[in-house]
Symmetry: C2
Subunit: 139 residues, 2 copies
C-alpha cells in the first residue's frame, strides 16, 4: 500500500507519516526495491495505533517510548503494559474534563435557547456562567 493510500485511510498527510517514522512513532516501514514506502499489514496497524492514540491526545513522546520498548523485545512486555496503563489514566482524566466542559456548554446552550425564544437571558445565580454585564443582558 502506498503512502498516499494509507494517508487517505487514516486521514493524515504523507508528511505526517514520514515524520512519524523518522522520529520513531512507528517502526520502519517496508520499502520497494526502489526505496519507496510500501506499507504492509503490520505497518498499517502501527499507523492505525499511532493515529488513534494521537487523536486521543497521547503525546508523541509516549508513543516513541512504546515503540522503543517494543523493538527491545519480550523483556519489555510488562514495561509496555505499565506505559499503556499510565496513558489510559491520563486519557480517562482528559475525558473527565471533556465531560465537565460539555455539561457547562449544555447549560449555556439551554439558557441561550430559552433567551432566543423569550427574549430574556437569565443565568442561575451560581451557575458559573458568563453573566458579566448581567443587567444589560436582560432586555
Amino acid at each position: 500500500m502506498t503512502i498516499k493510500e494509507v494517508c487517505q485511510k487514516y486521514n493524515v498527510t504523507p508528511d505526517t507519516l514520514r515524520y512519524y517514522e523518522r522520529i520513531g512513532v512507528i517502526p520502519e516501514v517496508h520499502r520497494t526495491p526502489g526505496g519507496i514506502r510500501d506499507y504492509n499489514e503490520e505497518d498499517i496497524k502501527w499507523v492505525e495505533t499511532a493515529t488513534c492514540f494521537r487523536s486521543a491526545g497521547m503525546p508523541i513522546e509516549l508513543l516513541i517510548e512504546y515503540v522503543k520498548l517494543f523493538k527491545e523485545g519480550n523483556n519489555t512486555i510488562s514495561a509496555r503494559c505499565e506505559l499503556l496503563k499510565e496513558a489510559r489514566e491520563r486519557i480517562l482524566e482528559e475525558r473527565r474534563k471533556y465531560d465537565e466542559a460539555l455539561e457547562k456548554m449544555n447549560y449555556k446552550i439551554r439558557v441561550y435557547e430559552k433567551a432566543v425564544k423569550t427574549g430574556f437571558l437569565e443565568w442561575d445565580d451560581d451557575s458559573n456562567c458568563c453573566s458579566y454585564n448581567k443587567q444589560k443582558e436582560k432586555e
Copy 2:
C-alpha cells in the same frame, strides 16, 4: 481576589491569565486604583469558563470569538448559541475518538497482562494491534 489566588483556584499561571486577558479570551479584569488586577465574581466566572473549555481542547480562537460576541451585546445571543453548539459537536467528536483509543488501549493492556502471567503474547489476528514481529513476540 488577586491573580495569584485565582491561579491557585484554577491551576494556571499568572502569565496565562494575563495572556488570556490580553488577547481577549476573557474580558478585561477589574483593577485596584493602583492598577493591580482584583478579580471580582464575574471575572472569576470568566476564568472558570475559559479554563474549563480550554481543558476540553476548545481552541482559543473560538473563546475569543465568544467573548467578542458577548461584548457586542444582546443581538448576538443566537450567534453565541450557534457558536456553542458547534463547539459542542467538536468536543463530542473528540470524545468519541478518546473512547476509541481507550478501547484499543484496554485491549492491548488485557493482552499484555495475560502475557505477563502466561509468558505468551498473543494478539487476535484482526485486532489492529502492534503485532509486527509477531513470531519473535511469542516466546
